[in-house]
Structures are given as structure tokens and as C-alpha cells.
Symmetry: C2
Subunit: 133 residues, 2 copies
């Protein structure tokens, strides 16, 4: 059952704030990475590259917790618990460029590596909460 991302949580995700993504590693232990994120059509959109660990994690177990701290007040943070509902290469290159625009104000993602294949994930929110707000 999808929940809506609204209000302050939405505002924190629309701003160029990094988010932490917590997933489960192959032993079922919590793994956390800090990444860029965007919102699209009620989903959180995340981008990574093939070969990295957290994409493997969400392919094994789609459960994910996304946390975004308010940089102006670290006691306030938005949190989305949900699951990955889409995993695609299609549009992943355009998406990383859009994220580079949002976070770095660059038209093209400047850290692309030779042979790198980008991948885009959509997360459907199941629980959305603002902590300390």
C-alpha cells in the first residue's frame, strides 16, 4: 500500500540534500550508503552503477529505508520505508544527468567512469515519517 510523500519530507527530498539508503547485505545485516535522490510520480528515484553493492542488496531483498536529514536542523529528518518496485537501465543515464543538475548544477554527470552502466531504482513508499519535526 503506497503512502504519499508530502509536506516537509517532500520538501527535504526536493532540495539537493543527500540521503542515506539502508538496505540488507547478503548476510541480512544493515548496509548504508549516502547517495542522491529525486522524487517522481510518488516514488523516490535512486541511481547507482552496476557492480556496486547496494543494487545487489535490493535485488536480493527490495526493502529499503531512506533517510534525509534537514541540514539546517539535524534533529529533524524525513524517513521513507518502502521497497524497490522498478530496477532499470532505461533512462538511467538521463536520470544521473538530471541528478547532477539538481545537486551540482551541471548539465552532465561529471563522474562517469569508462564502461560504467548506470541503473535507476524506484522506491514505493510504505511508511513516510518526519522525525523531530
Amino acid at each position: 500500500m503506497a503512502e504519499k510523500i508530502d509536506g516537509k519530507v517532500r520538501e527535504l527530498l526536493e532540495a539537493p540534500n543527500v540521503v542515506s539508503v539502508a538496505t540488507l547485505d547478503k548476510n541480512g545485516a544493515p548496509d548504508v550508503k549516502v547517495v542522491w535522490a529525486d522524487l517522481d510520480n510518488g516514488h523516490v528515484v535512486l541511481n547507482s552503477a552496476e557492480g556496486r553493492q547496494w543494487p545487489e542488496n535490493v535485488r536480493r531483498d527490495p526493502r529499503i529505508t531512506i533517510t534525509v536529514i534537514n541540514p539546517e536542523n539535524p534533529y529533524e529528518y524525513g524517513q521513507i520505508r518502502g521497497r524497490v518496485v522498478e530496477d532499470t537501465h532505461e533512462g538511467a543515464d538521463q536520470n544521473i544527468d538530471a541528478l547532477a543538475k539538481k545537486y551540482l548544477d551541471k548539465d552532465e554527470y561529471p563522474f562517469r567512469q569508462e564502461g560504467e552502466q548506470r541503473v535507476m531504482f524506484r522506491v514505493e513508499p510504505e511508511r513516510v515519517k518526519l522525525h523531530g519535526g
Copy 2:
């Protein structure tokens, strides 16, 4: 096998930066909370109150991932993967006061609630990493 917390990761944890703690909820899904932290004798020390969720999580499964983002450069973050090796009420009140001193420059923790029982956890680091550094 304990690993040492040194260099920039140590510096980030010694400064009054909030940390995120990722644990496993009762369904084994990743749960994240943003809290205060300190270092003592090679361990990360965390403080909570009885009745909250993440203390229950680490009692069920002691695996924990602690992440601290550099507030001056959000692409740099320290990460400690480890497990809870001590869970005690003893000294937990003094510890939350010490954390209030560190984070708020107050001699006494100002958010104590009626009847609240504080609890202190020690985390033994198994993997320590600086990302994006």
C-alpha cells in the same frame, strides 16, 4: 575482531555530529534512527531510552551500522559496521548528560521525560570506512 576508529572517522565522531544508526526491525527490515554518539575506549557509545524501537532491535540482533556525514562535505562520510557488545542502565544517565554537554553545551540533558529509563549501548567496530574522503 575489533577494528580501530582512527583518522577522519574518529574526528567526525568526536565532533558534535549526529549519526544514523541502522538496525534490523522485528521483520529483519532496515530501521534507521538519527542519534547522538560518543567514542570511549575504542567503542562507539550510543544512548536511548527503554521502550523505543531501536534498543529492542539490537537486543534481537546486535548488528548495527553507524554513519556520520561530514557536515562540511556531505559526500564524505564515516561508517562503522559492528555489533552491540554492552547494553546497560549503569552510567546511562551520566552518559546522556555528557552527550548533552557535547551536543548542546548543557550540563544536564534537557529532554528527560518523567519515568524515562536511559540505556547505554557500546558498539564494537568490525569494519571502519571513510567514504568519499
